[in-house]
């Protein structure tokens, strides 16, 4: 199982801030493909042309990363702090 956390407007868009998911291993791209395959609202919220970052085990990814079982994945829309 992996834990997925959604933040800010993205959590509102997909209707949850956290979920657990059975996971056989794969990359961040594999996870995004899996989530998009659910259809709306996931397919639009996580569409390839949308801007967001992923964090794997609380480290923000720059590029594709491997996701192992028991991992926490955060999906972060554009930030607006300060």
């Amino acid at each position: 199982m992996i834990t997925i956390k959604y933040f800010g407007p993205l959590a509102d868009e997909v209707g949850t801030s956290i979920e657990t998911l059975a996971w056989q291993g794969g990359s961040t791209d594999d996870l995004l493909d899996l989530l998009r395959s659910r259809g709306a609202p996931w397919s639009s919220a996580l569409a390839p042309d949308k801007i967001y970052k992923l964090a794997v085990n609380q480290q923000i990814c720059h590029g594709v990363a491997q996701i192992d079982d028991q991992t926490e994945v955060g999906i972060l829309p554009p930030v607006t702090g300060g």
Partner: protein, 154 residues
């Protein structure tokens, strides 16, 4: 860097406490720059009563730490404190407080501005505006913030 402190606060920032704490740092510096960001309420026809800020605990602190380290790599700052509010913040309350200290003012000013510019585009905070008529909306990322961040890259 001799002193570095990064804290996320759910309660109102006690600025008198933090100014006192900054003044008590044992350094031989000649410059201390403090920036305080406040919540504005009058940008729209309907006033903003408060903000709600969400963040990604521990990732936020790590990303701010990276920003401070990047600043310290460019300017000789001896001390830095970054405080940021989360949760419900009323208008006119402080939302962010950044203190940078150095031997001379140019480094303290530049590092402080760099930290703020990077914080706005890289630290995982999300800001929701809550209005007097009961409506609310997430704030969209601003191109002007990205432009200010990019100026440090050129």
């Amino acid at each position: 860097m001799q002193h570095c402190l990064i804290e996320i606060h759910a309660d109102e920032l006690d600025l008198a406490h933090w100014h006192k704490r900054a003044s008590e740092l044992e350094t031989d510096d000649g410059a201390q720059v403090v920036f305080t960001g406040m919540v504005r309420g009058g940008d729209y026809d309907v006033p903003v009563t408060h903000l709600f800020i969400e963040h990604y605990p521990s990732v936020t602190e790590n990303e701010i730490q990276k920003i401070v380290q990047a600043a310290a790599a460019q300017w000789p700052i001896s001390s830095c404190i970054v405080l940021h509010r989360v949760g419900k913040i009323h208008t006119a309350q402080p939302i962010v407080w950044v203190m940078t200290q150095s031997r001379h003012r140019a480094a303290a000013y530049a590092a402080n501005e760099f930290i703020m510019d990077y914080l706005k585009v890289a630290a995982p905070f999300w800001k929701k505006e809550c209005f007097a008529d009961g409506t609310e909306r997430w704030v969209a990322a601003k191109n002007s913030d990205r432009d200010k961040y990019r100026q440090w890259l050129s």
